[in-house]
Amino acid sequence: MHPAKSVIFFTTASGAGYGLGFWLILLSLTGLAPQTPLLGWAGFSLAFVLVTAGLLASTFHLGHPERAWRALSQWRTSWLSREGVAAVATYIPVGLYGAGWVFGADLSQPFWQTVGGLGAALCVITVFCTAMIYASLKPVHAWRSAVTPAAYLALAWATGAVVLTVLVRLDAGLADMRAAVDTIALFGIALSTVIKRVHWFRVTKTHGTGSAESATGLGDLGKVTLLEAPHTEANYLLKEMGFSIARQHAAALWRAAFIAGVILPFALIAVAGAMPSSLGLVLTALAALSAAIGVVVERWLFFAQAKHSVTLYYGADRA
């Protein structure tokens, strides 16, 4: 599948934003995060920027961005529509909770706890809907599994938490929650690694039930191979669904994603935990930068490696 830059940026940035919002609220609700204005401003603004920039970018690949509002209408059947509705809905409780945080509301009140709980749940639901857009597509075997939403949720957890490891080092008053945030980030990275390993196995070692024989219905006669394509140049189908550029570099890119997205951030955050704040800030910032590169490469591979069943009509044996 064609890895559109806008969709890669959208899914990674919004994933980190929702992850960050989720952990801020959860740590606040559990009393682990002190209600300092700095953490509120920095955390909720950054989550807002990541999510909003991602959502705006996702409209760039549309043929008619000015009609994007129409995508909120078909939530009964369409995961893309559900994602849009959930994304818009998430702004309300998360924004409200962020405002309550920075303007000094008593967040221990049941009202704020309800708002916070709703916001945290909607962060999870929105990321889940994003993943289900892909997981619901039967023609793409690589995505059609519970591994897809699991990976999106785990990576949102990990990237959001890695960003938070930086924020909690901005202020000495946040020193007490650093250990908890670091642990959450390290667990998130480890969990994502396990889930993505399963995804890698699915992509490289398994394939869908379709074949050139089932696609043409000619299997009873014998082995089916493409003799002549319908057109001499690549058409929309081949550019969009038959994307295979650099697939041969997948193993190298996978290693790059592993080093940048797992090894480096894990080591940097682990070391940062034992360092004074200023050095810890530098190390965690490097970890966040490295994780960002890693997750972008991961997302590129998620698209580029996935094969679509239409390729069975264009010479693929299996898809």
Binding site: P65, T77, S78, K138, S214, T225, L226, L227, N235
Partner: protein, 245 residues
């Protein structure tokens, strides 16, 4: 609305393509392009049509496959492919705006170009590659089964069939109501063992394909005999004897 019709449709207009007859001339694709370039989903934009890298929107594409038996015997099968107007069309249900829809009255799957946002998700959801994006118009396009032709009362009755059907010089394409078990198309599907493409996808396509007929078996493998010795004339028998020796 992108929900599929709730009930089983009474009328399911569609195509039956006979792979035994198709000669792979691409006339159906060309006439499809010609008609639809001015039809319901017009234009079918081409980019760089006369340049080095031409591409454009087509609703019908003709693939050619080679099928080889285990014995090493092979045959060529020309394979036209367009939208199959599925009963369970995933391209319809994934649409976030309701632009993609299946008509209750005849089962035809269409795109409303006024509400399509060009997100391309329907083309990802279609296992067959029936939808092609128009970069120029920014909307998705697909086979309309020539709704502007089949219901067109200004045309003679015999012309009220899709452009691909009316142009096929070999008669490999039939059009009709596959929801009616007594229609001509349903009868030919039943008689010839018409089948669905990619049944594993569960889309329940309306269009059906008729398999190539089995080849007449020649156990001795001698093929055609140029001269039937007992019926041949004097000269032929003499030539045969001369060269057989």
């Amino acid at each position: 609305m992108t929900a599929l019709p709730a009930r089983e449709l009474a009328t399911k207009l569609g195509l039956v393509i006979d792979l035994d007859i198709c000669v792979g001339c691409h006339a159906c694709a060309v006439n499809c392009k010609e008609w639809n370039a001015g039809g319901h989903s017009a234009p079918l934009t081409d980019s760089d049509p006369y340049g080095a890298d031409p591409s454009g929107v087509w609703f019908n594409r003709i693939h050619t496959f080679e099928v080889e038996t285990e014995a090493g015997d092979s045959r060529t099968v020309h394979f036209p492919k367009s939208c199959l107007h599925c009963d369970d069309a995933p391209c319809v249900t994934v649409c976030p705006t309701g632009a993609s829809y299946k008509r209750v009255e005849d089962g035809i799957v269409l795109v409303n170009a006024d509400t399509c946002i060009g997100c391309k998700l329907c083309s990802w959801a279609c296992p067959y590659g029936a939808r092609e994006y128009d970069e120029d118009a920014g909307v998705m396009k697909k086979c309309t089964l020539c709704i502007d032709k089949i219901y067109n009362e200004t045309l003679p009755v015999e012309s009220r069939v899709p452009a691909c059907v009316s142009t096929c010089p070999a008669g490999a394409r039939s059009f009709g109501d596959l929801g009616d078990p007594n229609s001509d198309v349903s009868k030919i599907v039943a008689a010839r063992g018409g089948y669905d493409l990619m049944p594993e996808q569960g889309c329940k396509p309306v269009n059906k394909y008729l398999p190539p007929r089995p080849r007449k078996h020649d156990p001795d493998g001698e093929g055609l005999s140029p001269v039937e010795a007992d019926q041949a004339g004097l000269l032929a028998r003499w030539v045969d004897r001369l060269f057989t020796r």
